[in-house]
Symmetry: C2
Subunit: 351 residues, 2 copies
Amino acid sequence: MSTTSRAVGLAALIAAGTWLAQPASAQNAAPVTQGPLTIERQGSFFVGGRTLRSDTLSTLPAYAPNGSITVDQMYVRYQVPPNAAEKPSLVLVHGCCLTGKTWETTPDGRMGWDEYFVRRGYPTYVVDQAWRGRSAAHPTTINAVKTGRSGPDTLPTVFAAGQEDAWAIFRFGRRHPETFPGLLFPLEAQDEFWKQMVPDWNFSVPSPNPTVTGLSELSRRLGRTVLVSHSQSGIYPFQTAAMSREGIAGIVSIEPGACPAANGDMKPYEGLPILVLWGDFVEESTRWAPRLRACREFARAANAAGGKVEIAVLPEMGIPGNSHMLMQDRNSLEIANWLAGWVAKNVEGGR
Amino acid sequence: MSTTSRAVGLAALIAAGTWLAQPASAQNAAPVTQGPLTIERQGSFFVGGRTLRSDTLSTLPAYAPNGSITVDQMYVRYQVPPNAAEKPSLVLVHGCCLTGKTWETTPDGRMGWDEYFVRRGYPTYVVDQAWRGRSAAHPTTINAVKTGRSGPDTLPTVFAAGQEDAWAIFRFGRRHPETFPGLLFPLEAQDEFWKQMVPDWNFSVPSPNPTVTGLSELSRRLGRTVLVSHSQSGIYPFQTAAMSREGIAGIVSIEPGACPAANGDMKPYEGLPILVLWGDFVEESTRWAPRLRACREFARAANAAGGKVEIAVLPEMGIPGNSHMLMQDRNSLEIANWLAGWVAKNVEGGR
C-alpha cells in the first residue's frame, strides 16, 4: 500500500466518523481519563551506562578530583496497569532541549500521555535521554578547562534553545511572537512550558548515541514494545531497529528531525508497523517541510521493500491546528486516543 | 523536653516493641506495600523560575546564540492517594549529586519512599533541585568561554562526586572499598546506584538558593506540608521556614550537611515539629560526626526557645547498620513506616 493510499484510508476513516472529529466520549476516550487510576506496579531504573576514571571530577576541595563516575546510562520511569499482559508496552522518548517531562502533565495542567496510555491499558515507560535530565551528563571536560589543563575549544557543546528560536521550531507561529491561525498549543501556559526546557548535550554524546543503545537494551528487556519518539529523538527508534529488532513491535515517530535515508538499507524495517505522525503548519516551516518530504520518500522506499510505513499528517486527515508539541496541544488526548487505535490495529492486531 | 529525654522516649518505645524490631506485618507496614496501587491523581509541574536573556545560548549554527531562557525553576512530580484530605503532604528533597530518583525504586529493585508514602495515605511530592535533573541548569557561561568571550575562570562550578569518594561520604565504609560491619546498603546493586549520580551545579546557583525559594512557593501552594530533606538539602527546610512558615507543618531532615547554627535565631522553628534523623557509623566519619554534634547543639538551643526538635539516631534506638542513603537501605520501608508514625503523632496529632 502506498503512502498516499494509506493517507486516503485514514481520511476515509475520518469521513466515516470513527476518529478525532467525533466527540471524545463516542471513542471511549473520556471515561478513561476520569476517576482514580489503579496501577499494578510502577518504578524507575536505568539502562546502559559505562564507568570511566577522570582526574577532573571536581575543582572543589571538598570533593576529590580523581575517581570513577558512570555516564551514558538512560533513566526510565514506568507504570504498568492491571491485566496488561496482552498489551505491548510503549516507550516515550522526548526531543531536543527537553526531558521526559514532555509526556507528563501539559503546561496548562491536563493529563499527559504518560498517564493516558496507562489508563488505556498499556505499560508505559518514559525516559530521559542520555546526558539529559536524570540521566547524568559528563562534566569532566568543563573542569579540565577550568583548571587550565585543556583549552576552551575542548569544552562540551551544550546549548540552550532560546524561547524566540524555539517558538518557530515548535511551530507556534512563523516567527516569534506571531501565532499560526487556529493553533492548538496552550500558549496561555507558555511560561510553564519554557520551564520544561533544559540544556542539551546531544552534540557531545559519544557514538553510537547512548540513548539509542539504551533503547535497544530497554526493548530487549521489555520484549514487545512500541518505541514512540519525537523530534530530535525521531530517528532513534529507526536506529535502534537497525541495531537489532529484538523486542521492537512497532515505531511511532512524531515529527522526526530525520527519517532514515530513502536510499539506505530498508531491511531493518521490513514488516515492522511504523507510523510517522505530523501536525499542522509544516509547509509554513522551512525547517520542517523538507523533513516531511524526506519522510515521505523514506516511506515509499521502505514500503516498496516490504515495509509497513504510514505517514499521517493531521491536517490532511481533517485535524488542523496542531503544533510540533502535539502531545501537549489542546486535543492531545484525542490524538493519543487515535494513536492507541493505531497501535491496537497495527501492532496488537498484527500479532 | 531535652533531646536526650526524647531519645530515651524513643528507646522506651522500641523496648515496648512498637517499632522497627517488630515484624513489619505487626505494624501494618507490609500490607500497604502489596497489591495494586490506587491513586486519586498524579502529575508534575514547576515552581519558581526566572527568565533571562543571553547571547551565548548556543555555539551551533542551527540554534541562535541570542534569546531568552528560563532557569532556577524546580521540577515537582506528585501522586495523591484517595481520601487524603486529612493528611499533610510530604515533599521529598534529594541530596548532593543526586536527583529525585533517590526516593524512587531502590538500586536493588524494591519500592521507594515515593510510592510507600502514597500507599500510607500521604500526598507525596518529589522534586529535582534547581539546576539538577529535570530542573534546567544554566549553560550560557560555558558557551561564553567556548567562544572566547570570557576566561576559563568564569566557568561554572560543576562537579561529579567520584564513586570512591562517595563511598565514604555515603558511609558504605570508612574508605573505598572497605565496608562497615552489618551495613544495610544493598551493595550488590551498587552499579545501579552509581547511575543515579549526576553532575552537581550547587556551587553555581544564585543566592538565595532557588531550591529554597521553590520549596517556599511549593509549601504555600500545598498548604500543610512536611518538608523531608536529605544531606546537601538537609538545611533547606530550615532555610525555607526562616523565609516563611506558611504551609510548613513539619520538617524531617535526614542526615543534614548542616543544621541551623545553635547561636542563631530560633524564632523560625518555634513550635514546629522537627525530626533530624541519622543512620549508623556516624562516629566513624570525620565528615559526619561533627555535623551530628552540631545538630544536637541546634536541637538544645531550639528546644530551649520553644522548639520541638528531636534528634533520632537509629543505632541509639537499637537499629544498627544504616548508611547515609537510608531511604535505599534494606530496611528502608521499616524506617519509612516509623517516619509515618512520627508524622502521624507529631504533625497530624498536633493539629
